[in-house]
Structure formats: C-alpha cells, structure tokens
C-alpha cells in the first residue's frame, strides 16, 4: 500500500462542522502530516481531539484493513467499520458536562470537559493492545465530586484474544488512567466487545 492509499475514508462522512471544519478536511490535514501548520485547526479543541483519535485509529487499523480488503470477499465491510468508528469519534467531540477538580480556594473552578475524559478512556483502550475502542459513555453524575459513575466501553477485539483477559486488562488500564488524570469515583467499568478484527 502506498502512502497515498493510507487515507481514512472520510469522504463517506456527512460534512458537519468542527469549529468550521469537517472530518474530511481533518483527514487531509493528517495526510499532510499537519504540515504546514494550520493555526485555525490547531486552535480548536474539537479539531485536536478529532485529530488525536483519527491518528490513533489510523495507526491501529490500516494494516488490518488492507489485509482484510485483500482477502475478504466483502472488503466494503472494513470501510463501513472504520466509518462507524469515525462517526462515534465525531459524536464524542462535544465538550459535554464539566468534570470538577477540587481546590481549597472556592474562587478556583477547575474542570476537565467530559470530552477530554472520554478521550482519555479511548486512548487507554487503544493502547491496551488487541483492542480498538468504539463508544465510550460516562454514566452517572460526573459533575458532582465523589458521586460514583460507571464507564461503558464498546470495542473491537483482535481475533484470537481471550475476551475475559482482554476485558480485564482494558478495565485496569482505564481505571489507572482515570485515577491519574481525574478525581472521578469509578464504581464499575463495563466492557462489551461488539466486533472482531484480524490484527
């Protein structure tokens, strides 16, 4: 596969705005190695979130996509899978609720956006090994300090991996990352594998 072929199939996505940009534009920008630097894109949190996720998705799935496209009697399934992941990523870019960070001075209101937290979960999943993260949902009152929440994750699992062991590794990794970067009280992390890919 040539470098030119390593584009994400962003053309299949609707042209919704991301601070005035589209997923297609961002895919092209990523193709160019984010060079020359576009200050408008780089100054948008939503665009940077999308770029970060698209880059990881690209690294995780392109080789597998190409292998399956070469051998699969239905290669369009692969494109549909990637398109579905991109749609999920786009849907999770909205800032969402505020996730507070405590400080003894009540004048200081420190928060992470829900989108930033979801991105942490996605990154943790995608770097677990043998997993491509799908949807991530935070269930519960994330805006109230100390309130227990549940993290729901859907993911594709690499063919041949043990589902139980992979889910345990994913849970531990997500719990570690959230403990490092947030003050969320995680009551439960639910993992559902809804697809299998050939690594």
């Amino acid at each position: 596969m040539s470098d030119d072929d390593r584009s994400l199939p962003g053309a299949a996505l609707p042209d919704d705005d991301l601070d005035g940009h589209t997923m297609d534009e961002l895919a092209e920008y990523l193709d160019r190695g984010r060079d020359p630097r576009d200050p408008d894109i780089e100054s948008s949190a939503a665009c940077r979130l999308a770029l970060s996720n698209m880059q990881r998705l690209r690294e995780l799935s392109l080789d597998a996509m190409q292998r399956r496209a070469d051998t699969d009697p239905d290669p369009e399934r692969e494109t549909a899978w990637i398109d579905g992941l991109l749609d999920t990523i786009k849907a999770e870019l909205t800032s969402g609720r505020d996730v507070p960070v405590s400080h003894p001075d009540p004048r200081l209101r420190l928060t992470l956006t829900e989108a930033a937290v979801r991105n942490l979960v996605r990154r943790a999943g995608d770097t677990t090994g043998g997993v491509v993260t799908g949807r991530c949902t935070l269930t519960g009152d994330v805006s109230t300090p100390g309130a227990p929440i549940t993290v729901d994750i859907t993911a594709a699992i690499a063919y041949g991996q043990s589902a139980d062991e992979t889910a345990d590794r994913l849970r531990h990794r997500v719990a570690d990352v959230l403990a490092r970067h947030t003050e969320l009280v995680i009551e439960q992390i639910d993992v559902r594998f809804d697809d299998v890919y050939v690594p």
Partner: protein, 113 residues
Amino acid sequence: MAEDQELSRRLTDTARTTDGVRHVFPASSIVQVAADAVAVQFELREPDTLVDVDRDGGAVRITAEIAVDGARPATDTVREVGERIRSVVDAEPGPRPDTISVVVRLVEDAARR
C-alpha cells in the same frame, strides 16, 4: 478595555508557560477571537490574548481553556494554572476576581504534539 487586553496577554503567557500545558485555546468572546484571528493572520504571530477577562455588573471572571500533556497528571497541571493565574490577578490593583475558571479541553498523548 486596553488594561484587560494587557492582563489577558499576561495571563495567556502565564498559562502557556506552566509545566504540562500544551496549548491555550481562545476562551474570549467570538468577536474578540475573530479580531485576534485576523491580527494573527496579518502579523503572522501566535494569538496572545486567549484567556478571557470578563467584567459584568461589578463581578470579574477569568476563564482559561487549555490542552495538557498526558505525561503529567491533568489535575496537577490545572491546579497549577489556576494558582499561577490567581497570583497574577490578585497582584493587580482593583477588585479581585470572583471566579477563576480553568478548563482542560484535551489531554494529549505524551509523545504527540
């Protein structure tokens, strides 16, 4: 107000130079952001008034929105940004801000920009 623009410039620099901060996003009004974007385009410089200083009805609110580096806990970085901004604004003459909001919009991979 020129004084507030100067304060915003100093606060933006304060946020930018805090350990673990990768980027400061515009938290200002749309009009201000658009004006700054035009200035940036013509002068080929980084926008430098990204922290919002809002005075309304006697209340003063400061808002900063940032991307942070995943190599450092986001909680540590956001606290330090808030405290550094507080030390700058509390040293200013006039009323102290009622709220200083710092929002982490993105935790970036340690190995990426």
